[in-house]
């Protein structure tokens, strides 16, 4: 990367390029701007059903872009309580607004302490600069 990317400071990040936003006892999960830029135009999602269990570090779903198919890993553990249904018809939301309308799932946090183990914006930015 030539310039430090703009990263929302209030999010937590994984080295696999997912982000998490805490909303009380819930966590919103998506993929980062860097991830969507590397994937290119996203065309399809395979997301877990509401009620599924997310396990931190394990596969949560799959993203298909015009270039490749990638796994999405759960940054935190807990029950999936909402899935972004808009992505089914408009997967491009992940490209246009990765931190907003392109969110993927909401998870009922099983252990909020897991968030502390994730990268903060500065640490994630350092990781991107190292790539």
């Amino acid at each position: 990367m030539t310039a430090p990317p703009e990263l929302p400071p209030d999010l937590r990040y994984t080295s696999e390029h997912e982000w998490v936003r805490r909303e009380g006892e819930l966590a919103v999960v998506g993929i980062t701007d860097f991830a969507q830029s590397e994937l290119g135009d996203v065309v399809y999602f395979e997301l877990p059903a509401v009620g599924a269990r997310a396990v931190a570090g394990m596969r949560l779903g799959e993203i298909e872009s015009v270039k490749t198919v990638s796994d999405v890993f759960a940054p935190v553990s807990g029950e999936v309580v909402a899935v972004n249904e808009a992505l089914r018809d408009r997967p491009e939301l992940v490209n246009s607004d990765p931190y907003g309308d392109g969110w993927m799932v909401r998870v009922q946090l099983a252990d909020a302490a897991e968030l502390d183990a994730l990268l903060d914006a500065a640490a994630y930015a350092a990781l991107l600069l190292g790539t």
Partner: protein
């Protein structure tokens, strides 16, 4: 493109026109089936014969194949398919053979028997089945054979893992997963070969097999593969070889001599049989005598007296498809091998490697080469420099090559190379055509710096310009209807 060029057969001609006269029926009409089953409004194209011929000629002229020009699609070995192959495979003795009367096709069986022996000799793995209809099916057969062998050894319950380097073909982990194994991906070291420390750490009693693509998708040989084989065997695991890149080592190195237990080949790559348009292919599987009893059926055996017959190996994994394999493809591969002979095959692999390295030398200053040093059959450049400095992506570079009259190379594969451009010229290309391709790549690198919009808008010369692949995948239009803009 001109509006006329996009017209489909339905939009041409006029009511009542015919391309051929059908003789009047002179027999006794049979009663019609239930009229409710018949459609009374079926719009069919109505064209005169010249209109029809012009339509298909126009379509065929939009095609780009290895018969039209350089087709350097990495990992695909798009070599020229000699026309002699077609002549041989078209002989009536072969084409008239009926798959349900195999015993009567003694000539065909003899040729297939000789092909089995030749592939066994070339790979050093003497037990061969020609049944798999494609490379991926050959892989499936090979891993199922390993699974069956482990089952008989009573070790299948504990050997649940298959190790796959990240420089392998993407079908390898898919095959292992399809066979019910858990896939562990192994990282590639800086020299482009397996990280041996990680390998040693992973090789234990839970491993069924290590699947190695040799040469790998970086166009590099796996260094010390004999030691890797010994390590795998010491741990009780099998060594599977993806032989899709055989064109680099044909007639020079044998998988069996290096310690591989089973490999699949892609005859439609290495042995010059057609594989445009999705096939058909042929993916024979070659194995050690230990694994021979598990080969997929049928194989061609020599009868005790004379002649040949189709046989099912003792503890075969079974059949992979109806009938006996893609005989037409197998015959073409046989014709190619007999025409070239061992010396010719060796010369072909030498030229293929020379061409890839010549291209690498001509282009290397203009694109990044993440894994430096000489390569085998293909070379993987990276468009990272162009992306960072000029906002041009590998995708744009590939599309621009169309304007220069070349088929684009493989892009964004292997995944371990950022913005990958994977180029395999094969031995088919002459010195001049390798130089012309290199000159185009160098010119495009210059354009990326000076006029990047040329690349963003490419191709400009093709009948259809830049397609919106994302939109096509997100909202595919799967059915033509009258008035739909093609």
């Amino acid at each position: 493109m001109s509006a006329g060029g996009a017209r489909l057969a339905f939009d041409r001609g006029a009511a009542g026109r015919r391309a051929a006269d059908v003789p009047r029926f002179a027999g006794t009409p049979a009663p019609l089936p239930d009229a409710r089953l018949l459609r009374d409004e079926l719009r069919l194209p109505e064209l005169s014969q010249p209109e029809l011929v012009r339509y298909y000629t126009e379509l065929s002229q939009r095609n780009y194949g290895v018969d039209s020009g350089t087709y350097p699609l990495g990992s695909c070995t798009m070599k020229y398919n000699p026309k002699l192959n077609e002549l041989i495979a078209g002989l009536a003795g072969f084409t008239d053979a009926h798959p349900q009367a195999p015993e009567e096709a003694q000539g065909t069986l003899r040729v297939l028997h000789e092909l089995q022996a030749a592939l066994g000799e070339l790979t050093g793995l003497p037990a061969v089945s020609l049944a798999p209809a494609a490379g991926a099916q050959g892989e499936l057969a090979g891993v199922l054979m390993i699974k069956r062998a482990l089952e008989e050894r009573g070790e299948l319950a504990q050997r649940r893992r298959v190790l796959v380097p990240d420089s392998a073909h993407g079908t390898n982990p898919a095959t292992a997963a399809m066979c019910g194994f858990t896939v562990t991906q192994l990282p590639t070291g800086a020299d482009g070969s397996l990280d041996r420390v990680v390998l040693a750490r992973n090789l234990d009693g839970s491993v069924a097999a290590l699947m190695v693509t040799a040469p790998n998708t970086l166009g590099l040989w796996e260094r010390g593969i004999e030691e890797v084989a010994a390590q795998a065997h010491a741990a009780g695991a099998y060594l599977y070889g993806d032989g899709a890149n055989l064109n680099a080592i044909l007639g020079r190195m044998r998988f069996g001599d290096l310690g591989f237990d089973v490999v699949h080949l892609n005859l439609h790559k290495s042995f010059s049989t057609p594989h445009g348009g999705g096939g058909p292919g042929a993916g024979p599987v070659c194995a050690t005598p230990e694994l021979a009893p598990y080969l997929p059926a049928p194989i061609v055996g020599a009868r005790a007296g004379d002649g040949f017959e189709l046989v099912r190996p003792e503890r075969s994994i079974g059949r992979l498809q109806q009938f006996h394999g893609n005989a037409g493809v197998l015959l073409r591969a046989y014709a190619y091998m007999r025409a070239l002979g061992l010396d010719g095959l060796r010369a072909a692999s030498g030229l293929a490697v020379l061409n890839a390295n010549y291209l690498r030398a001509l282009v290397r200053e203009h694109y990044d080469l993440p894994y430096g040093g000489p390569v085998l059959h293909e070379v993987v450049f990276s468009g990272s420099r162009q992306r960072r400095a000029h906002g041009v992506r590998t995708y744009d570079i590939a599309k621009r090559l169309i304007d220069y009259g070349f088929h684009p190379p493989t892009v964004y594969f292997p995944l371990i190379v950022e913005e990958a451009l994977m180029i395999e010229p094969t031995e088919t290309e002459t010195r001049e055509s390798v130089e012309a391709l290199a000159a185009a790549l160098v010119a495009i690198a210059r354009e990326a710096a000076e006029e990047p919009e040329l690349l963003h808008d490419a191709p400009r010369s093709a009948p259809i310009g830049r397609l919106d692949e994302a939109e096509a995948a997100r909202r595919p239009v799967l059915r033509w209807s009258p008035g739909l803009d093609p």
